[in-house]
Each structure stands twice: as C-alpha cells, then as structure tokens.
C-alpha cells in the first residue's frame, strides 16, 4: 500500500463520522485529486463481498462500515440491538421532514392529520432530525441530520427517491377531482335552502 493510502485508511478508521475529501486532503497534507485516487484504490480493496469491512460513501463523506453478512455475529458480541425500526408515525414524520425541510410541527400535523409531537421528539432524540431556525410565528423548524443520511445510506438528500412516482396517474387524479367538485357543487345547491332557525 502507498503511504497516502495507509494514511487515508487510518483516518477513515479513526473518525466516527464520514470524512470529506477536503478534510482528508488537509489532514494527510495531500492534494484533493490525490486523495480521490487513493480512495478509488481503497475502494477496490474494500469492495463489498470480499472482506468484513467495506468502504462506503454516505452523508457527504467516506467511512468504513462492517459488511451486513457479519451482522449476526456483531449483534452477539456487542449485545447491542440494531437500529430500532421506525414506527409508522415516526416514518411518516421523517418522510415529511426529509422532503419538505425546513418544516414546523404544525405543518407536519396538518399533513398527517394528527398531532405528531411525540414522533417529532423521538426523531429529534434519536438524532435523525435537528432544528433549523424558526418560522415567522416563532415555531421551531426541523431538517434532517447527517446521521439520517448515514443510517439511510444516502450520500445527499438528492438521493431520496422522487415522491412524484407515488402520485396517482393524471386520470386517477382527474377522476378524484371531478368527484370532489361534484360533491362541492352539491353543497352549493343545498346551501340555497334557508337554515333551520
């Protein structure tokens, strides 16, 4: 292994958070281009499926992680449960924050149709979301964290799938809209009747 590769490997090993190319370059006293080449060589060395450790690019940086195939043994050794799964309320709240950030609690509640304070607090406590300023009414706004990106294996927020893919087809949407409009017109018709006093 070249000296730079050894240094980069050691830096990735020591840092608990993903490290960016500029950070690696500054610490290793190397050019960013050299670091990128070094990472490419390490990546070959740590390609998935070969070793117990893999090199991953998440949350805007590079980090070493264990291969999922070793997870059962790791659980036995560390007696530490895996990341607990999200409850549906937490998953929906997280999805809203991820796509609409920054977003406030009242806005989340409006979309979900129920107050979501406990889900928001849990996500905050778990470090998946954080505060990002305040709305004009003084409500705290939330955004996702780097830990969110890391736990969900995303390099950046742009890696999130396009939510448009889950929308109904224009035909379905049109049909739904027509029905709602007819219901609304029915209402207008009814309303002509004087109120019961």
């Amino acid at each position: 292994m070249r000296d730079l590769d050894r240094t980069v490997e050691a830096l990735l090993f020591l840092s608990n958070d993903p490290v960016t190319v500029p950070e690696l370059a500054e610490a290793a006293r190397a050019g960013e281009g050299e670091v990128v080449e070094s990472l490419a060589r390490l990546r070959e060395n740590y390609a998935e499926g070969f070793r117990g450790i893999v090199l991953r690019e998440v949350a805007g940086g590079f980090t070493l992680a264990t291969d999922p195939s070793t997870e059962p043994a790791a659980r036995r050794l560390l007696a530490k449960p895996r990341t607990p799964p999200l409850t549906p309320a937490q998953a929906e709240t997280l999805a809203i924050v991820a796509y609409l950030q920054p977003v406030s609690r009242p806005e989340i509640a409006r979309i979900r149709g129920v107050a979501s304070d406990s889900a928001t607090s849990t996500l905050h406590d778990r470090g998946l979301i954080e505060e990002r300023g305040r709305s004009q009414f003084g409500a705290v706004l939330y955004r996702t964290t780097d830990l969110f990106l890391r736990l969900f294996g995303l390099r950046t927020l742009d890696d999130l799938p396009d939510p448009g893919q889950w929308d109904p087809t224009p035909e379905e949407e049109g049909e739904l809209r027509d029905r709602l409009i007819r219901a609304g017109e029915a209402r207008a018709g009814h309303a002509e009747t004087p109120a019961h006093t």
Binding site: N16, T63, A65, P68, A91, Y99, G113, R177, A183, T197
Partner: protein, 259 residues
Amino acid sequence: MPDPVRAAELELDLDVFAGPFDLLLTLILREEVDLLEVDLADVVLAYLDHLESRGELDLEVATEFLVLIAALLELKSRLMLPRDEDDEWLDLEPGEAAEELLRRMLDNRRYRRAASELEARLEAESGYRYRSAPPPPHLKRASLEAAEAVYEPARLGVAMGDLLAHPPPIDVDHMHVVHPRVSVAARLAHLRKLLRRGSFDFEEAVRDADRVTIATTLFALLELHKQGEAVWSQLEPFGEITVSARVREAGSGAGERAA
C-alpha cells in the same frame, strides 16, 4: 408495504347506509348518499368498535381513517353552513374546496408512501455497522493556544434578539374568530319596534343580517318570550316563523296587538 385491514374496509351499519366505509365515501362523492344525512359520529363509533374487536391499534389504518373522517367532517361542516356571500367562513368556492381536499389527500398519500420507502431503506441499511470507538485521547487533544477566533460575537447578539422577540400578534380574521357586533339589547329594541305592528315574520327581522346578528336576534326573541312579550308559530319545519305580541294586561309597553 404491508396492507392490513384498511380503514376503507370498515363495515358500517348506519341509518342511511350499511356497507364498507370506502363504498360510503364513493357514494357520498357520487352524491348518491347525502353527506348531510350521514351521522359521522356513528362512523367514528363504528370505527372504535372495530378497533376494540381487533384488540390493537394499527397506526397506519388509524391515520388513514383520521384523514378521511377529517375530510368528511370539513366537507359536511361546509355543507351545513348557510351560504352568505360576505361571510368570511366561506371564503372557498366549491371548486377551491375540492382542490384543497384533493391536495390534502394526495399529500397525505405521498408521504405515507415515502414513509414506507424510508422504512424499507432503513431495514436494508441496518446490516451495516459503523465504528463508534472513540479515537485514542492523545490524538484528540487540541491546545487552547492553537484555537483561533472563528466565530462572530455578533452571532450571539443576533440570537439574543431572536429570543427576545415575541410572536406577532394573532391575526383575528385568520383565526376565524367573529366578534359580536350587535348586542342583545339592540336586537330587543329592534324586535319591540316590529312588535308594535302586532306581528311580523322572523325573516323580516333578520333580513340582510349576518349570522351573528341572526343568532343574537334569536336570543333576543327567546328573551321576549321569557318576559311574556311575544309568542311565535311555525306551521312546518323550515317554514315561516310568525312572531306575535302576546295579549297582555293593559299598560304593557308592547303597544297595540293583533292575533
């Protein structure tokens, strides 16, 4: 995405409808069942019974149900309000109301799908473990001397200013709070004046009045009845209400009377 018993499959047995919830929704949207005649409280009760019989709360289904029932409640409350051009309660046209409802349903649906996508992602990622061992202390220690000024003190002052800010006063129009613009006393005087003619139609007493005035006038009428000054009759539901001065001993201030 797991697909347990959906809210849509909730079996209902109501006065005007028996069948699954989604069929009720469809019929309402197709105007085959009049939403005004559906007792939504019964739908909620049926849902609670359903939950009890299942013995568990499925949050996915509960959320779907809440969104649907909230949409129905909103639609129904709009239906029940009298239509009044200058009434701020009804600032949405039927088309706009439908658009708003549609937007909410699509929003909710979009983020529920996104949520299951995230759940699946987290599950797929949970096999990767990251190292959490702290680096050896001797590699971590930064000396105070090496520290340079990197932050602006003004940042703290700005934060203080933000923290000292009170929220803007609540915009009352926004909150749909209607302040009484009329007093019962004023409406009592109005009714007594009309009563001098002997009788009048209630519609006449509240012609061109806003809803608050109508309510206050009704309250004033009840007060007149209590005081023994007026009686009324209505021949059929929703029909005209005729208010008449009550025959009283001489000396009452109600003036002439005519049965």
